[in-house]
Symmetry: C2
Subunit: 349 residues, 2 copies
C-alpha cells in the first residue's frame, strides 16, 4: 500500500511546520452536493454505501478528483460503530432513527462490546482500499463520533433540538450515563486506533452535540471521555482533530482535550479563536457552510478574511465550520479551494 | 388601572438597586407544562388564544397564582405582529409555517406597514386587562421577536436548523435583507412602545436565531436593528431585556445593543457572563431548562450555584436559559422558585 509521503501539506500543518499555504478540505466533502456522489447513491442505500468498502472508497475519492483537496475523509457515518454494538439505527429521510432508544437501565445490557477491527470491519477495508489509490501527497482521514455525541443518539434514539432524554439521564441517572460514556470512550479509542492501522493518516473526532451542554456539564459528561479517546490515540503518534459544534464557550476546555488540532464551528471569528487557543494546538475551520450559497466572489472574500485572520499561525487547516449542505453550488466550492491555493507564498513570490 | 408599585422587586433589580434577593420568572411560564393552561388550550387554538385578550390574560396570570413569580409575561407569540403585517403564519404541531415564504424581491411589496396599536391590538388589550388584575408588587412584561429573528421566520417560512434561505438572502441580496430588517426594526420599536403604553412595565426582545450568525454577520444583520428597537424604547424610560440564544461569542456585542438587561442562554457559566458583561448592564438567566427534568434536589443545587455565581452583582434576574418545556414536572418549578425565595437576606437574618 503506497502510504502518505513526507511532502504531505496536511501532515506538515498538523506538525505546525512552516507551509507555503494552509491545507484545505471540507467536512462532508464526500456527499450529496456532488453529482457523481448522487449517481453512486442511486445504486445503493446510505447504509449499504457505508457497509460496502468499494463504494465508500469511490465516493471518498470523488471530491479529490474534482477539487484536488489536500485531504480525503473516508466515507462512513458516526453511527456505524453503534450499529455494530447492537443499536440498529435506520436512515430514513428525516435523519437517523432507533426504534428502541437506550434510555433506561437496560441500556448497558443491550450495548455489546465488540472488537474494533473484526466487529466493525467496513471502514477499515475502505481505508486500506482508498489509501492504495490516493496520491501520496494527500492525507487520508478516519473519523468517529465523540463519546458524548454517540451517547446523545443512543439515548434519544434520533437527532433532537434539545435532547430531553439525554439530559434526563445525565441529571437523574448520572452513574448510568457515565457507564455508557465510559464504554463508548473505550470502543471509540480502539476504533480510531484501528483506522490508523488500516490506512488513515489522521483522525477527527466529531462532538456535534456537545454544544448543547452548560460548560460545567461539558466538563463532566463530554470532555473526560473525549480526552480518553485522545489519550489512547496519542500512543500511535498520529495527528488528531477534535471538532465541537454549537458552543463557543467550550473552546478553552476543548483545547485541553489532548487533540493536535481543534476544529471550530462558524459561531466565532478566527481572530478570537486564534487568540484563545494555546499556541501548541492547531486550529481548523471555520467558514459558515451557508456562505457557499452566495457567489464565488463572496466565497473568495470570506475565505481570504479567514486566511488573513490566521496569517502566520502555524497549524492552521482551512475548512468549513460544519458539513457542506446538499444544495451547495459547485462553483462556490471551486472558489473556496482556489482562494486557499492562490494564497501560496512560494507561487506568488 | 392599578399600576405597579414602588416595591416591585423586578423593577428594582432592573434599576440595579439593592434587593433582598433577585427576582425570578421563567421564559414560557404561561405554557403547556401547566395543567390549568392545557385546560384553557382545549377550548381554543393557539392562535385564537393569542387573539382573545381574556384568554391570553387568564393564562398569563396562571403561573403567578401557582408559583408567585415576581413577573408575569403576557401570553402571545413573536409572530403575531408579522401576521398583522400580512404574513399568514399557521401553527400546526411541527411549529409555525408560512405557505409562501418572503424569500424573493417581492417580499417588500408583500409586507405591509401597519399601525402598532390599531393594527395589532390583541396584545395591548391583553396587557391592559392583565395589569388591572395583577398584584401591584408584580411586574408585567411585554415582548417581541427581534428584527433578525422575525426576518428568519419570514424568509424561511418556518423554523430551521440552518436557515438556508435566510443566509442565501443575506449573502446574495444584502440590500433586500437590510430593507426588510429596517422595516421590522421600525415596526417592532413602535410595537414595544405601544405595549408599554398599554400596561407593560418592561419589555423583552427575543433574538432566538441570532446565535446562528458568525459574529461579523451578527454585527451587520442583527445588532443594528436590535439597537434601533432599544433606542426607540429608551425614549419611554422603561427597562428592556435583550435575550440572545445559541452563541456565547455574541455576548459582548449583545451587551452593547442598549438594553437594560441581557438575557443569556445556558451555554455559558454565569461566572463567565458576570465577568464579561459591563457593570452598567443587568443579567438574566440561565438555568438549562432541561435541568427541570431532574429532581427538586438537583434543581435546588443548580439554582443555588447560579445565585452564588451572581452574588453581590446588582441587576440580576433569575430565569431559565430558554423556555420551559411541556414535559417539565411541576415540583421542579416549585423547587426553582423556592430556592430563589429562600435566598432572601432580610428573611434569613
Amino acid at each position: 500500500m503506497p502510504s502518505v509521503n513526507a511532502d504531505c501539506l496536511f501532515l506538515k500543518a498538523c506538525r505546525r511546520e512552516k507551509v507555503p499555504r494552509p491545507p484545505v478540505w471540507m467536512m462532508r466533502q464526500a456527499g450529496r452536493y456532488l453529482p457523481e456522489y448522487r449517481e453512486v447513491r442511486k445504486t445503493a442505500s446510505f447504509l449499504d454505501m457505508c457497509h460496502t468498502p468499494e463504494l465508500a472508497s469511490e465516493v471518498t475519492l470523488q471530491p479529490i478528483r474534482r477539487y484536488d483537496f489536500d485531504a480525503a475523509i473516508i466515507f462512513s457515518d458516526i453511527l456505524i460503530p453503534l450499529i455494530a454494538m447492537g443499536a440498529p439505527f435506520e436512515f430514513p429521510e428525516g435523519g437517523p432513527r432507533l426504534a428502541e432508544p437506550f434510555d433506561d437501565a437496560k441500556a448497558l445490557e443491550r450495548l455489546k462490546r465488540v472488537d474494533a477491527v473484526t466487529g466493525m470491519p467496513w471502514v477499515h477495508e475502505a481505508l486500506s482500499l482508498t489509501r492504495s489509490q490516493l496520491d501520496p501527497s494527500k492525507a487520508l482521514l478516519g473519523f468517529a463520533g465523540a463519546p458524548f455525541t454517540l451517547f446523545c443518539y443512543l439515548v434519544e434514539g434520533m437527532g433532537s433540538k434539545l435532547f430531553p432524554k439525554v439530559k434526563q439521564m445525565m441529571f437523574r441517572q448520572p452513574e448510568l450515563a457515565r457507564e455508557l460514556l465510559q464504554l463508548l470512550a473505550e470502543q471509540i479509542g480502539e476504533y480510531m486506533v484501528a483506522q490508523l492501522e488500516h490506512g488513515a493518516d489522521a483522525v477527527q473526532l466529531f462532538d456535534t452535540w456537545a454544544g448543547l451542554l452548560h460548560p460545567d456539564d461539558y466538563e463532566e459528561f463530554a470532555l473526560p471521555y473525549a480526552r480518553q479517546v485522545f489519550d489512547r490515540v496519542a500512543q500511535t503518534g498520529a495527528p488528531t482533530i477534535y471538532y465541537v459544534n454549537g458552543n463557543p464557550s467550550l473552546l478553552s476546555a476543548q483545547s485541553a482535550a489532548g487533540s493536535t488540532i481543534v476544529g471550530v464551528d462558524w459561531r466565532s471569528t478566527l481572530r478570537e479563536v486564534n487568540r484563545k487557543v494555546p499556541s501548541n494546538v492547531g486550529i481548523q475551520g471555520n467558514l459558515d457552510p451557508l456562505v457557499l450559497l452566495s457567489s464565488p466572489e463572496v466565497v473568495a472574500q470570506r475565505t481570504n478574511r479567514m486566511l488573513q485572520e490566521m496569517d502566520g499561525r502555524p497549524g492552521y487547516i482551512v475548512n468549513l465550520g460544519h458539513g457542506v449542505i446538499p444544495q451547495t453550488p459547485l462553483d462556490s466550492v471551486q472558489a473556496f479551494v482556489e482562494t486557499v491555493r492562490a494564497s501560496d507564498r512560494s507561487a506568488s513570490s
